[in-house]
């Protein structure tokens, strides 16, 4: 089973990397870029077919390691 965990910075957390990318996009002349926030994507293969167990395992993975809950939110998607 394929899954994707997306980790993003919480709003209000300063993101200097996103700011630098935003600046670079603007200097490239790409029109209409208002702001950029950088995040992380984890593509994870889960063994078996139990979607409920997979969801629980992915949430555990995100809580314990993939995201730092002080500064980041995460979203789990099972495909």
């Amino acid at each position: 089973m394929k899954a994707r965990v997306t980790v993003t910075l919480k709003s209000g957390i300063l993101d200097p990397q996103g700011k630098a990318i935003e600046g670079a996009l603007k200097s490239l002349g790409i029109a209409g870029v208002a702001s950029v926030r950088q995040g992380k994507v984890f593509d994870i293969e889960i063994e078996g077919r139990d979607r409920k167990a997979a969801q629980a395992a992915l949430e555990q993975a995100a809580d314990k390691l993939l995201a730092n809950s002080l500064i980041e939110n995460y979203q789990v998607e099972l495909k």
Binding site: I13, L14, P16, Q17, K64, L65, N68, L70, I71
Partner: protein
């Protein structure tokens, strides 16, 4: 003072730290591997040194914070044992939940390797008893992620409880954004946990302990720790 230095793959300041501990205490520190599950018996002080554990993958300190030895470090801290984290060690202690807050990318987006001035906020702790409150020391920093942040309530608590021990300051000890090299909240360079027995700081006092290399302002931290344990004995 029996100290143990925890070594993770990618750590590179463990020898400097061991040398500073040996010079101050006269005892050879134990080097403890991340995959170990116990600290040597009689360990007084655990030190998590600086470097780039696991190549700073995922988030600085995130993977090291989940290493097997960290349960033993947590248990040591839980018993009131002293723990010191420097640079990557500070990041690891935050990720391990032993200290509040997070160390984010420096606001200037650059790796900073230079000497800084730190104002000592309190001298009545095992970590700072070798200094006077208000004293300014010169020590190096070398980090890309040293910008300390925490939510407003946590910062208010740290300040209210006097848990900020070191702040980036100008050479005269005044707070000035120009001298807050990484943009840390309230110029915080080092904080204590709630119990007062776990300290994390970004700068490297262990690199300023020998006159042959220049300033020796880092000695106070190690000498203070040695005194603390002498008095306790």
């Amino acid at each position: 003072m029996n100290s143990a230095v925890v070594v993770f793959p990618g750590i590179n300041r463990e020898r400097d730290m061991a040398r500073a501990l040996r010079l101050a205490s006269g005892c050879e520190p134990a080097m403890v591997w991340h995959a170990d599950t116990a600290l040597p018996g009689g360990t007084d002080l655990v030190v998590v040194p600086g470097g780039f554990s696991y190549g700073d993958y995922l988030r600085c300190g995130a993977i090291a914070a989940r290493a097997p030895i960290m349960d033993a470090v947590r248990a040591h801290a839980g018993r009131g044992g002293l723990v010191l984290g420097v640079c990557n060690g500070f990041q690891i202690l935050c990720e391990a939940g032993l200290l509040p807050g997070v160390l984010m990318r420096n606001t200037a987006m650059k790796f900073i390797c230079r000497d800084v001035y730190l104002r000592i906020e309190r001298s009545d702790t095992p970590f700072t008893r070798g200094y006077n409150a208000g004293q300014v020391i010169r020590v190096p920093v070398a980090h890309g992620e040293g910008n300390y942040i925490a939510d407003d309530a946590t910062i208010a608590r740290l300040e209210g409880e006097g848990r900020v021990l070191f702040r980036y300051a100008d050479p005269g000890g005044a707070l000035d954004p120009a001298w807050n090299v990484n943009g840390a909240t309230n110029a915080i360079a080092g904080v204590l946990n709630e119990g007062g027995n776990v300290l994390g700081l970004m700068p490297h006092p262990e690199n300023h302990v020998e006159a042959v290399l220049g300033p020796t302002d880092g000695r106070g931290l190690f000498a203070g720790l040695v005194d603390h344990f002498k008095q306790a004995a």
